[in-house]
Symmetry: C2
Subunit: 387 residues, 2 copies
């Protein structure tokens, strides 16, 4: 790994603050060291604050966002219970597959085309058509594969009205810490996410907050949780102990990653969250304005459907993924290719969340990226239209 650092502008992992990286190099520390217990407990509390959840149960576990799906599927869905997946891309497909692995019955509600989201009407229709109320509805807040943003506030309100017993589950892997999520205010029952995106911490942690209602549903299970490593029954006492400043043990936590997360969460909460969300909107709008002014077409079908954490944009005609990605890498910037299997070779993804947004004035990561992309497109024979 001796190669010089390239600016990491993919939709996660994102660039990390130096203090966050320094925390990663913390010397060996016992997982029941009093200072670490405090750090872990505070991280759990701060996670709830970022997600605007007062009384829910937070979990921070070694893993990735994917493990959060297992936790939902193995703790909140019992065999043969039903789930509606509001599907906006690859991550809806996979969340559904995960639920099926643990015995849940899944209905996928797809939009009419890639880049769109299922309408509120179609969701209402799917709920109405279900013979019994869905146990859960899952929504990918931002699908990292398509860059589509869903209106979780309106969907949560709709589900609450049309199917009050149904739990609203939000996959916020590519949104938590950048897009507004008001768990309490919007009636969201579970938010699951990961460390390496807008929470600004290296990859390796699964984070999840479950509402009091979700925990009551868990407590009322008839069958035991169907995962061991992802079992709420195992982890709740551990998380509660850390929050109560007491030692506890189920599996050794990722001490250094958690200290690093603590550093990042403190930075995030040192400023009003509303300001942070606004910054992400502004930078995202700027990026989208620039790339569309070049004549490129966004993958999301409208401005309202476009996430503020990444820009998914088609290559112009005659320009290939291989050409652009290697050309921009040659300029010291890494962006991501497409991920949705149906259109993967035709589009690229630029991540803009966390440090690259909040410290743009200081670092110019986004400006550097756009300049490199413009040059890469020209090198690949594309003529940027006069503006």
């Amino acid at each position: 790994m001796a190669a010089p650092h390239k600016l990491c502008m993919i939709p996660g992992p994102v660039e990390f603050h130096q203090d966050v990286l320094d925390a990663m190099a913390t010397k060996a520390t016992s997982h029941i060291d009093p200072n670490f217990i405090k750090t872990f407990g505070e991280s759990l509390v701060m996670l709830k604050q970022v997600l605007m959840c007062k009384n829910g149960q937070p979990f921070i576990i070694s893993g990735s966002g994917t493990l959060g799906w297992d936790m939902v599927a193995a703790n909140l869905v019992e065999p043969s219970e039903t789930a509606l997946v509001v599907n906006t891309g690859l991550f809806g497909d996979r969340f559904g597959e995960c639920i099926e692995t643990y015995g849940g019955k899944v209905t996928h509600l797809h939009a009419d085309a890639i880049g769109l989201a299922p309408t509120l009407e179609s969701i209402a229709q799917a709920i109405k058509a279900a013979p019994t109320p869905f146990k859960i509805v899952t929504i990918t807040h931002v699908d990292t594969s398509t860059g589509v943003l869903t209106d979780i506030k309106s969907i949560a309100r709709l589900v609450k009205e049309a199917s009050p017993s149904t739990l609203v589950i939000v996959d916020a892997v590519c949104s938590a810490g950048a897009e507004e999520i008001d768990m309490d205010g919007w009636g969201i029952d579970v938010v699951l996410t990961a460390s390496q995106k807008a929470l600004g911490t290296p990859p390796g942690l699964a984070l999840l907050v479950a509402s009091e209602r979700a925990m009551q549903v868990f407590q009322a299970r008839k069958s035991p949780p169907s995962s061991y490593f992802g079992s709420f029954a195992k982890w709740v006492p551990i998380m509660q102990a850390y929050m109560a400043n007491k030692p506890s043990y189920f599996a050794t936590p990722a001490v250094q990653l958690i200290i690093s997360l603590h550093t990042s969460l403190r930075q995030i909460l040192s400023r009003p969250l509303a300001e942070r969300f606004e910054q992400h909107i502004k930078v995202s709008d700027d990026v989208k304005k620039v790339v569309t002014s070049w004549g490129l077409k966004l993958v999301p079908g409208s401005h309202a459907l476009a996430a503020h954490t990444l820009t998914a944009v088609y290559y112009p005609e005659g320009v290939t993924a291989q050409g652009v990605l290697s050309s921009i890498a040659g300029k010291g910037v890494i962006i991501a290719g497409g991920l949705h299997p149906k259109i993967a070779p035709t589009y690229m993804r630029i991540g803009h969340m966390g440090l690259s947004v909040t410290a743009e004035n200081e670092h110019n990561y986004v400006k550097t990226t756009l300049a490199a992309l413009e040059a890469a497109l020209r090198e690949n024979g594309y003529t940027i239209p006069n503006q």
Copy 2:
């Protein structure tokens, strides 16, 4: 976490080499960066080398040792298939519980007392008594709760002879990288471990190597794997891609932890493994000789049953856990209290693996710990006998 560093002499996490810690602070790197792909692929190969497995399938996944149990239970045992747990402490209890979570039927074979291991005769008897051959036999190589070492070589040979179809699974969380494990030579089908013990890397990774035979058994499953995040079906293509120097994606790997692991594995393999194992035996023998010369009694029932990665030793009469642990912490050294629920308040555990063994001549971590412990015992009113 601003407190000064205390020497971390618990049985994991252990003290880490500065190069390993520096690797933890690697700047943001894409999980499909060509340099990282190479690093990940090499780490998988080196993991097999440490475990002396030529053709098996290695896995390195965000998680902890516990996740390795889920991977065994969800991929190699089908519902209603049977497992024999050769139980030497808490970690046997829990591995069994994990297998039951995924529908396996578990028989625990306990030793006659805490500190002992089931005899070869009793294992042969249990195999003979089973109405159908066990699908797997699990053995905790070193039980971190009791400090008991099992003779996995002899047990594997016995199982191979008495029940050839049975897979031999070794939980090597507290042994891999310190105690000899010859997967190929001894006919072991799965070794699972974690990063934070004798592999000398901060916590956050589950590591597992499955033999070709184990992978054939997996391929012959009738039911799909019963975990999503821990599914061999999901991870095999990813691990094979990294080993073939190709990009791939299922869930974002813990980039920094893997670079850190790579650093540690290179250090480990820079010297003959036999030398490393000998060093661990020597330091362990020294520690045990010293503490028994003080009149203390080891938890393991004999020298042959005592692990070389930690020393589990009873407090002398009249001395409490609270007294010794806080006294030694006051001297800048952290050791662990007891963990086995039946005897937890009566004994302590000193970890000695990885850096604290291989760099003892340079750092004197073990000597420092023994001196601090001796002083702590005296402070707590214990009279060290004349020697």
